[in-house]
Symmetry: C2
Subunit: 220 residues, 2 copies
């Protein structure tokens, strides 16, 4: 059975939505994620159901079958491995790689993925700190919290971002808040929910509510 580029993207969207909301993906949620119409989704969802890649009952939303989930996680695996390649080997910055990886993830070759993984040193996380699933679709789980959830005095290394937009990533670059940087909460301002933090035990910095709510820090 072969599966189109488009079908793959639908499966990935369904995976993301279900993971995010912890429940079946609605037609509207999918159309929104895919920048298409609800009618197109209904159409596609029938086809994916015929191929037993999803469970679908009209008006009840969509979940992935084992097969469908396997394809979705494999796409994510490829996407994130390619992102590592682009950053580590070709020296792209972390805000430039998403769109290219969006194309590269559709390249079909089992051996290519295996060799790329090996070449990159079997990385477990991509340049944004997102976990790279293994060949069976298992993600490494890490104890993490948003910086905004830490209490005064708590600290940890920055391990990921919640917001993946170029704007945020470039902001972090300018602040020299790369992955691995240690952040310690010195003071919390209830007024605007901002924080004064100590970065790498060296310099102090004021971070806005929005920034704190989008930075993942490793726990304990």
């Amino acid at each position: 059975m072969d599966i189109s580029h488009t079908e793959e993207n639908y499966l990935k969207a369904i995976f993301k939505i279900s993971e995010r909301n912890g429940k079946p993906a609605s037609t509207n949620a999918i159309s929104n994620e895919m920048n298409t119409t609800a009618a197109s989704v209904t159409d596609m969802v029938k086809r994916l159901s015929d191929k037993t890649l999803i469970h679908y009952e009209r008006y009840r939303g969509v979940t992935l079958t084992g097969q469908g989930e396997q394809i979705a996680t494999h796409l994510i695996r490829k996407h994130r491995l390619w992102e590592v390649f682009l950053v580590d080997k070709l020296h792209f910055s972390w805000d430039e790689v998403h769109e290219i990886a969006e194309q590269l993830e559709h390249i079909k070759s089992k051996r290519l993925v295996e060799r790329l993984d090996e070449y990159l040193g079997f990385p477990k996380f991509d340049p944004h700190g997102d976990p790279i699933p293994d060949a069976d679709g298992n993600f490494t789980i890490r104890k993490q919290a948003l910086l905004s959830e830490l209490k005064t005095g708590e600290q940890g290394p920055v391990v990921g971002v919640h917001d993946h937009t170029t704007a945020f990533l470039q902001y972090l670059d300018r602040m020299e808040l790369v992955l691995g940087t240690t952040v310690k909460v010195l003071e919390y301002f209830e007024y605007d929910e901002s924080m004064r933090v100590l970065i790498n035990n060296e310099r102090e910095q004021l971070l806005s509510k929005k920034v704190c709510q989008n930075l993942f820090v490793q726990k304990q």
Copy 2:
């Protein structure tokens, strides 16, 4: 203007055919190269003509416009650069890379190609000895001849293959006739057009007519 995966493949086919035959690509030649029907080609050729990527007059064959040629050579550039990547960095063998590169060549990102080129050390030839065009579509030209065209006593390094099939490439691997190997013609047998050659000034080898007609050797 955007151009589909399929349209790109047509342009590449037209480029190859015109280059091979030194005249406009016929509908049949294209349908043959693309494994499709003449009717499909006529259809597509109209669309490419509307986009001013080719010159087309019915019953008279097809040539590429400047724009079309630019796209075709850029595809070849990407294809061959990716082949170098697969062989040099991921350690694929030269008979395994064509199909993967066939997919990778469609990835759209100017910066990616530039960075890949740099990462690979600006190679001028791919793993099969085919020239890699530069960003302007110019190919490095090399003085070469088929081994079968050499006279007794002449010699040169192997620089390319005419036949790109897996069977031939694997045969060369088994014979340890990789690119760079020096071959000297010791004797020519008129009977079956085979040759006795000296390889790397070390060992003698008998090569069949077919092999000699598919190996490129650097001249003078």
